[in-house]
Amino acid sequence: MADSVFGDIQLIYQLVSKEVVGRERQLRGLLAVLSAGRNMLLEGPPGTGKSTVLRAVTRNCAIPLVMIEGNAEMTAQKMIGYHDPAAVLKYGYRPDDFVLGPLPDAMSRGGFLYVEEFNRLPEDTLNTLLTAMAERELHIPRYGVVQAAPSFRVVAAMNPFDNVGTGRVSVSVLDRLCRLAIAYQSEDEEIEIVRRRAPVVSEELITLAVRIVRRTRAHPALRSGASVRGAIDMVLVAHALAELDDAPTMTSSLLEAAVLAVGSKVVADEISDRTSDEVVREIATAVAAEFDVALRP
């Protein structure tokens, strides 16, 4: 019915929404933008399900997903690919000896190029992306022209609150992207996500973990909080600790598990004089008290 280069997007929507918890609005936006032939920028903190949704979409569309991470080491040369040096010395620059980098690879196979930490890509690397997005073709010196298949898209992800080692992306690139802000899921959705990843854990523990992690996001002493990954790690670690200690309940090791799992996932405020571990411990203690849970000291 609703036909596009990805096939029936209504059908894809239905298939993907079964696999992913919540995210109806984001999924609609993503499918609308991509099937309209545009490229997408997903802006939000880590652990909000961006790659999960993308994987589900590409799987159901039967197209490849090429993932790369934006950092200073991702040079333009790595993005584009290289000639096998030994072959070059022997035969000169032959197209056959060229190894396609992630960008031309995604272009020629008609897949999504998913760039995490997009705002950490160096300028020159972003420029190569710009050409691919604007012209839908890439000129590679001494190789040839790589045309983008119709289903090729660039999906960029970035965390706007992460100011370390990042810079604003060039306007020429931003002008060619549509944007969707992705915030954390609701409490119920996060509980469901943890439940799916840690089925053997008690409901109480899951609720506690999610509550603790959600509190880290609005705490005055923390500059940024943890995603649902913190809760998943917390329950799995608490479970393991309980087994090791032969404890009666899983919640007794909650404090330790919280610090282990969440301590590194939050960032303490510059002005606060407490460490992130201390703040996490404080939050966990408070939440446990609210639930009337006995903790190990």
Partner: protein, 641 residues
């Protein structure tokens, strides 16, 4: 080619004529204009109609002159040496030889090296290629460069020598009617695709899309608006949203149109640095205004099915809703439920709260008493700064803090300064541009051409004979000299604090920074050995109590001793001043002892700017004006080069 590009050039008759005239007169052309305004389309279309070949080069910050010229195939060279047959032409040589147009996109990203090669070609119509020969231009060769001055990341000013050799044609955004035509034509093309038969784009959506896009260019909370691409994307995305709903042959729902506006426009605009609203709430407001205007223009018509509720909720923030400070860390966006069930206005309710509206009624009399109690001009400037630039939460906390201690207020102000500075892009110069270096067990990005050249000379190589491309960090030693004398002390202090923050943030772990503040006497705030954190530095600057005359010479002397104690190979002084000294020795002699002294001129008076320039020239450096706090970080980082 995207859908947009297949539309022929609309409403650019005058600019086309200008470019054609330049071609006839054999003048090189510089096309200047914001992104998305149709520069490359114009060039391509012109060349298509004249039948002239265009060779396009996307300038990157790593493009070397050699890449423009071309290089020799290594295998052939190894077998037969450097001959004509081993040479592979680069785009410049190809354009010269075939008499084609060399179209340079993003020309303001080119390295000086690439510029030099271009300049020779442009002025003499000939280039000399090492180990190949001389290439003369055939008739018809011309350079057309496109530059985009919105784009401040990774770009440099075009050199004067280049500007001297071109005819500059500016392209602005088209007028409303023309933009409407562009968007409508693209929708038609869309319809022409067999798979898109059901994609229906009604004229009303096109009109709204164009109106909203144009409105982004005039909104007070937006520093930069969207190009026509915003409207194009809006229309296409809303058509697909309709499809997802099974609304074949009909427009997308009102809610979906609003959603499409956010999707299409929110990345293409830049928020003003003075606002703490998020971009979604601004786009939302703009969309509502567009609907309102439409409703007013067609009275009596029920109009699009937007409900009255969206009017009250999404116009200026409801004062009652904005009592609690919004936590800074949580991103806004998905708080409301599925749009299919929530009324259209609901999204704006969550987005509109906490906006940058000032709470004028909140300035209780007690506040001014407290502030005057604190007496020192400095604290008033600090509280003032917080009051005008802090977020709702910070303002509330500042009022509380003003009752407790100046130190608290200072800490808060320093946090704001740092946050503002970090939000601005500062070219990470210390990371260095990629350059060829000998292999040192670091980067493994092989620079094949250079390595081959090395192998030809030295057939039995050591690892260090291999060339790779790596970013070369340059260790720098900087002494920051802050003039905090003079009459505008409060503002001057905030400027000094911003400069300190900018320097601290721009420099790296391995760089050295010393900070000196001066009025009639210089004060060493932090020496390079102290390695103070940005926070402490900014707080220290904000805690100063400046007064008195200005002795630039003494400050320069102290700065020199600090520089001499540093170990970095590149050492420079950076002074923030208005250029006027009224006591002490003549600073120009002392400036001359600096290997490099750059000056940030905190003045707009012409005669003072001249003083700053003469001072900088005496110090073998240069001077830049820096009055606006917002542009100060970028200017400062440019002077750190």
């Amino acid at each position: 080619m995207t859908v947009a590009d297949t539309a022929s050039v609309i409403a650019r008759e005058r600019e086309s004529a200008l470019v054609r005239a330049a071609f006839r007169a054999r003048r090189h052309v510089l096309l200047e204009g914001p992104t998305g305004v149709g520069k490359s389309m114009l060039v391509r279309e012109l060349c298509r109609t004249t039948g002239q070949q265009v060779i396009t080069v996307n300038a990157t910050t790593t493009m070397t002159g050699q890449q423009l010229l071309g290089s020799h195939d290594p295998a052939t060279v190894l077998r037969r040496g450097y001959t004509d047959s081993s040479f592979r032409e680069g785009p410049l040589v190809q354009a010269l030889r075939t008499g084609a147009i060399l179209y340079l996109e993003l020309a303001n990203r080119l390295t000086p090296d690439a510029h030099n090669v271009l300049l020779t070609a442009m002025s003499d119509a000939v280039v000399s290629v090492p180990r190949y020969g001389v290439v003369r231009a055939r008739d018809g060769f011309l350079v057309v460069a496109a530059a985009n001055h919105d784009d401040t990341t990774g770009t440099t000013e075009l050199p004067a020598a280049f500007l001297d050799r071109v005819v500059r044609i500016r392209l602005g955004h088209l007028d409303a009617a023309a933009e409407h035509t562009v968007v409508a034509r693209s929708a038609e093309k869309h319809l022409a695709e067999p798979a898109a038969e059901q994609a229906y784009v009604p004229d009303v959506v096109t009109r709204r899309a164009v109106a909203a896009t144009r409105a982004t260019r005039a909104h007070p909370d937006l520093a930069r608006g969207s190009s026509v691409r915003g409207a194009l994307d809006l229309v296409a995305v809303s058509a697909r949203l309709a499809e997802l709903d099974g609304r074949l042959g009909r427009a997308a729902t009102e809610t979906d149109q609003r959603f499409a506006a956010t999707l299409a426009l929110s990345s293409k605009v830049t928020l003003s640095p003075d606002t703490d609203r998020d971009v979604e709430s601004v786009i939302d407001e703009i969309w509502t205004d567009v609907l309102l205007a439409e409703h007013r223009a067609t009275p009596g018509d029920g109009g699009a099915a937007w409900s009255g509720s969206s009017l009250t909720q999404s116009s200026t923030a409801d004062p009652d809703a904005d009592t609690a400070p919004r936590p800074d860390a949580t991103p806004n966006g998905d708080a409301t439920a599925d749009p299919a069930t929530a009324p259209p206005g609901a999204m704006s309710a969550s987005a509109g709260g906490g906006g940058g509206q000032s709470e004028s009624s909140d300035a209780a009399p007690a506040e001014s008493e407290i502030l005057s109690e604190l007496a020192a001009e400095t604290s008033a400037a600090v509280a003032d700064y917080i009051a005008t630039t802090g977020s709702t939460a910070e303002r509330a906390a500042s009022r509380a803090a003003a009752r407790t201690s100046l130190a608290q207020a200072t800490r808060m102000a320093s946090r704001i300064v740092l946050r503002k500075v970090r939000g601005v892009r500062i070219e990470d110069a210390a990371l260095g541009r990629p350059a060829p270096v000998r292999y040192n067990y670091g980067s493994d990005d092989l620079d094949l051409d250079r390595t081959v050249a090395e192998l030809i000379a030295n057939p039995v190589p050591m690892p260090s004979d291999i060339w790779v491309r790596d970013r070369v960090p340059r260790r720098r030693g900087v002494v920051l000299l802050l003039d905090v004398s003079g009459s505008m002390r409060g503002e001057q202090l905030v400027r000094a604090a911003t400069a300190t923050a900018a320097a601290a943030v721009a420099l790296h772990e391995h760089d050295e920074l010393a900070v000196i503040a001066f009025a009639h006497e210089p004060v060493l705030i932090s020496s390079a050995q102290d390695r103070s954190s940005p926070n402490r530095l900014v707080e220290a600057v904000l805690s100063l109590r400046p007064h008195g005359k200005t002795d630039i010479g003494a400050a320069l002397e102290l700065g020199l001793t600090q520089l001499n104690a540093m170990r970095s190979p590149a050492r420079l002084g950076l002074m923030l001043t208005d250029g006027v000294h009224n006591c002490g020795a003549d600073p120009h002699r002392i400036a001359g002892r600096y290997s490099r002294l750059n000056v940030l001129a905190s003045t707009s008076a012409a005669w003072r700017l001249k003083r700053c320039r003469t001072l900088a020239v005496a110090g073998h450096g240069w001077s830049e004006p820096a009055t606006a706090i917002d542009t100060l970080p970028a200017t400062l980082s440019a002077l750190l080069e």
